[in-house]
Amino acid sequence: MTRTTRDIALGLGLVLVVLLLFAASLALGPVSLRPGALVDALLGKGETASILIMQQIRLPRAILAVAIGAGLGMSGAALQGLLRNPLADPAVIGVSTMAGLGAVLVFYSGLVVMAPVVLPLAAMLGALVDIILLFLLCGRHGGTLSLILAGAGINSLGASLTALALNLAPSPFAVAELVFWLLGSLTDRSMEHVWLAVPLILLGLVLLSRTGRALDALLLGDQVAESLGVSVGRTRAIIVIGTALAVGPGVAVAGAIGFVGLAVPHLLRPLIGHRPSRLLIPSAFGGAALVLGADLLVRVIPTASELKLGVVTSLLGAPLFLALLLRLRRQGEAHA
């Protein structure tokens, strides 16, 4: 099989997986519906109750899973290319936590009532603040260690401030909702949430997808990249803004979901190769598949209180993260 044929097969395979998981997501729920009734209801025919369930509850949930997963996957691939670091991921470097902080401040203070779009915008602002903090702490060429430490520090800070904000919030339910903001959930999201988040996420995806060439050149370092005609500063800005767009709004409506941006590029590299440009779009599909799959697990595994989405993705991603750390350490020792 030639390389091009293989690439096409891989691409189709990914799309197929996403479609299958999407369909499964629509078919699963507390109320069981016959396949025929399911499709009818989706199209607006049949019993009102079924139509509502499909169009107002299950469809938004599935769409959000795809969009949020795609945003996390692609931004993970882009960040790993930009920072030249295999451990980069929107959650590891604190983007998700800080976006959550922005959302929480705006949500519980009531500002969100002014205009719903304030919510995803506040989350994006939180994301931008995080990346700026990161660059201040690590510089542009920070190594793995400083990146992880800075990310851990910002995550701690963000989580504590979020908890504080929730403690001070007027509603007594707020404190228990910390779990939602830090671990994420797609339960009972509505089409309103879709309209709030998905257009912005799509914009972020478009921005990020155009940085492939520059990311490839950055493999050779900032100077060579510039000599090849790439504007490193502009690339950095586009990725920062693109990440804020691709990740922030998702956190605003579904909480922080971790490890997707870390795991997906790593899982795809053996299949696609290591060039950053070729990982961007497949990582979007991979991320969509991962989040859809995790959300299916959340609904299928019976637990007393709702299993949070971020728990499932963490269970999948954290061991991978640790394995990568170990491998990097071993490589480091081998070279020393």
């Binding site: 030249r84 060439r213 490839d216 050149a217 493999l219 050779l220 370092g221 100077q223 060579v224 510039e226 000599s227 090849l228 005609g229 790439v230 504007s231 590299r269 190769g273 290591h274 060039r275 490589q331």
Partner: protein, 250 residues
């Protein structure tokens, strides 16, 4: 013609380059030599258009370099800095292919890539992952990348640094062939013998100023070198191969 005209460069208060001027014509191999901290890398970066001088300018074929578009400049000047690349399992061929980025389209890319691989002698490594190569092999791959740009001007900062003697010679021979075909090569070297052997012209940089500029014979004068480097030198010839050695006379 790549011309530096009265280049002044600063870092804060410190003066890095003090009115440096010289020119490189097609087919030249120009070696920039001098002690550490003389400003060689800074000068090369300014010549490549990657840094702006505090005053003075660089002209490329009569046009001021800073007025060229990024793409234009990328096509005309290939730059090879010191240091390696990030840990990545990308293949050799994919790295070399990055040299074609300034040229955008598909076109004769594959041919140019193969030519570059061949010129550096790493065709057999083409599908190996970078992480599986030795330091020297990686360095040669990065050179091939710079050659793949097929730019009329090739600027390299100590490309022989991590190479063994055989590959050092191979690299310099490769550059000589390129120059013979019309490329203008400007290269920073620490090895004065190598510089004397291959460069048609040398620029001796000391404390930000040009101490001397001319063919190797005129430059590699022990007295001049001692005044610049601060230690005695012996300059001699072994057959036709020049030898410039630091140290005291026995």
């Amino acid at each position: 013609m790549l011309e530096a005209i009265d280049i002044v460069a600063r870092a804060g208060q410190a003066l890095l380059l003090d009115e440096v001027s010289f020119r490189a014509a097609p087919g030249d191999i120009i070696g920039i030599v001098g002690p550490n901290g003389a400003g060689k890398s800074t000068l090369l970066r300014i010549l490549a258009g990657l840094a702006l001088p505090a005053s003075g300018r660089v002209q490329l074929d009569g046009t001021t370099l800073s007025t060229l578009s990024r793409r234009e400049r990328a096509r005309k000047i290939a730059f090879l800095p010191q240091g390696g690349l990030a840990e990545s399992a990308v293949t050799v061929r994919q790295i070399v292919a990055l040299g074609r980025l300034p040229h955008g389209g598909r076109g004769h890319d594959a041919i140019a890539i193969d030519r570059a691989l061949d010129a550096v002698g790493i065709v057999q490594l083409a599908d190996r992952a970078m992480t599986s190569l030795s330091g020297g092999e990686q360095a040669r791959t990065l050179l091939a990348r710079a050659l793949a740009v097929e730019a009329p001007y090739l600027l390299a900062d100590e490309p022989t640094a991590s190479l063994d003697p055989r590959h050092q010679i191979d690299l310099m021979e490769c550059l000589r062939i390129r120059a013979a075909a019309g490329t203008s090569v400007i290269i920073i070297l620490h090895d004065l013998s190598l510089a004397a052997r291959y460069c048609r012209q040398l620029v001796l940089l000391a404390r930000g100023r040009i101490a001397a500029c001319g063919p190797p014979e005129t430059l590699l004068e022990p007295a001049l070198l001692e005044s610049v480097y601060g230690i005695p030198f012996i300059a001699s010839k072994i057959g036709v191969i020049p030898a410039v050695l630091p140290g005291t006379t026995p």
